[in-house]
């Protein structure tokens, strides 16, 4: 149990902490953490399945400032570890992961306020003294301290909580466990809906229906669908590149007949309703 607790804590430190230091690396997503936990605990397949199931649930979870909802990293690591240890796959992992994700977010916020936040005056002092190297050192030091402390959460949770969770899972009647499994299968729809709330846009909505037709009528496997997605992305990327090249060329052409033309135009605008060129463009 000590090994399991330690390795899961290490995975949380590397992925959740790593994602915080490397920008939007997506290291802390369930689809990454699930298989990693599976690998560490000797069941990659279960880890991957649980990771994919939890990714579908947490797909729409994007934490922005005050609008945060859950921390998927800790949720997946602990949920997957328990599910692999106890057996039962996603049906065990999902009901465990959701409350852990909510708890993880609260703890994460607290570490920002009390651990990282408390170093702010020290940074100010070092900056006043011009000690650039110390600032870099402290920056990484605070990072290691913050995520080191955060990783204690899964460590203690798995070390101490295993037996309790085992008893709780054993005590749940099969009927309810089956119900949880069904609910777990419905949750990806909730995850997808949360994602659509963020991403829904009339210009890209058409692709959503393309995907639906591909799965529901053509019964394409996911790999084929992913390849089609990549093809669409490449085609759009090429088109955008052409469009921006064209726009640049047109800009240069417009500038050619000297600045005179542009000045006259801006002047005319100003006479009309007292706005300068920048302001006109804003209201165009």
């Amino acid at each position: 149990m000590l090994y399991q607790a330690a390795i899961v804590a290490l995975i949380v430190f590397v992925t959740v902490g790593g994602a915080e230091s490397l920008g939007l690396s997506m290291l802390n997503r369930p689809i990454v953490i699930g298989p990693l936990v599976g690998l560490a605990l000797g069941d990659v397949q279960s880890g991957l399945l649980i990771g994919a199931a939890l990714e579908a649930v947490f797909m729409g979870v994007v934490n922005i400032g005050g609008a945060s909802s859950a921390e998927p990293g800790l949720a997946t690591a602990v949920g997957a570890a328990f599910a692999i240890h106890l057996g039962g796959g996603a049906a065990v992992a999902i009901p465990l992961a959701i409350p852990i994700g909510l708890l993880g977010l609260q703890v994460k916020t607290l570490t920002y306020i009390f651990i990282v936040g408390s170093f702010a005056p020290v940074f100010d002092r070092l900056a006043a003294q011009g000690k650039a190297k110390s600032i870099v050192g402290l920056h990484f030091g605070a990072w290691a301290l913050q995520w080191g402390l955060y990783a204690i959460l899964p460590f203690v949770g798995i070390l101490v909580g295993s037996d309790a969770i085992q008893v709780a899972v054993d005590a749940i009647p099969d009927v309810i466990m089956h119900g949880l499994e069904i609910c777990g299968n419905l949750l990806p729809a909730v995850g997808m809906a949360m994602l659509m709330k963020l991403l829904w846009d009339r210009t890209i909505a058409v692709f959503f229906f393309l995907g639906f037709v591909g799965v529901a009528y053509l019964q394409l496997p996911l790999i084929a669908l992913a390849v089609i997605g990549v093809i669409i992305a490449v085609v759009i990327g090429q088109r955008d590149y052409q469009a921006s090249k064209l726009a640049r060329e047109m800009d240069q052409l417009a500038k050619l007949p000297a600045g005179e033309h542009a000045v006259v135009m801006a002047g005319a605008g100003a006479e009309l309703d007292d706005l300068n060129a920048e302001e006109e463009d804003f209201l165009k």
Binding site: V62, G66, D273, E279, E280, L283, K284
Partner: protein, 179 residues
């Protein structure tokens, strides 16, 4: 449509991800005297906005001129100010402001002696007076951090405050400056 929001952080995640989408905003006009003269801040604010939304950063008086221009009619604009004082200034001079939202005030700015209208809005005594004047001009002014959060009318929050003041001898809730 002109939506006015008081937000001491001006353009940030809640604005870019939530409000622009909810209100289908075409342009963000930041009306702040300090930001309008600071090139670094201007650049940072423009980076924080979603790419499809135009951003203009102007002084409060320039903002009045732009918002009252005929070309502004028919655009869906989000006007961001840093203080209730600036919001009052705009509401007094710009006729067609559709909504006034007091989002985030008092966590970064202001002095010690603040009164909390909500967990996101904390006002100093002069700001509180401005807020009362604002509610007179815009009775529907509301407090709402993000579109999915609950909406409270500013006048209700102020009314609750005066009830509380009558009940207790101390005039307001003192907040530690660290908040």
């Amino acid at each position: 449509m002109i939506a006015l929001r008081v937000d001491e952080r001006l353009i940030h995640g809640q604005i870019a991800m939530a409000w622009c989408r909810a209100l289908q905003i075409q342009g963000i006009l930041v009306a702040n005297d300090e930001a309008a003269t600071n090139e670094v801040q201007k650049m940072a604010l423009k980076m924080a906005a979603p790419p499809e939304v135009k951003v203009l950063i102007k002084s409060v008086s320039d903002a009045v001129r732009i918002l009252t221009a005929p070309a502004a009619a028919g655009k869906r604009l989000l006007v961001l100010v840093r203080s209730v004082h600036d919001a009052l200034h705009l509401v007094e001079r710009v006729g067609n402001i559709e909504s006034v939202n007091i989002g985030n005030v008092g966590k970064i700015s202001g002095g010690e002696d603040k009164t909390a209208l909500s967990s996101y809005v904390m006002l100093t005594p002069p700001e509180l007076e401005d807020c009362k004047a604002l509610v007179q001009l815009a009775p529907e002014a509301f407090l709402q951090p993000v579109p999915t959060a609950e909406k409270t009318l500013a006048r209700d929050a102020l009314a609750k405050l005066s009830v509380r003041t009558e009940e207790s001898t101390s005039c307001c809730i003192k907040l530690p400056s660290s908040l």
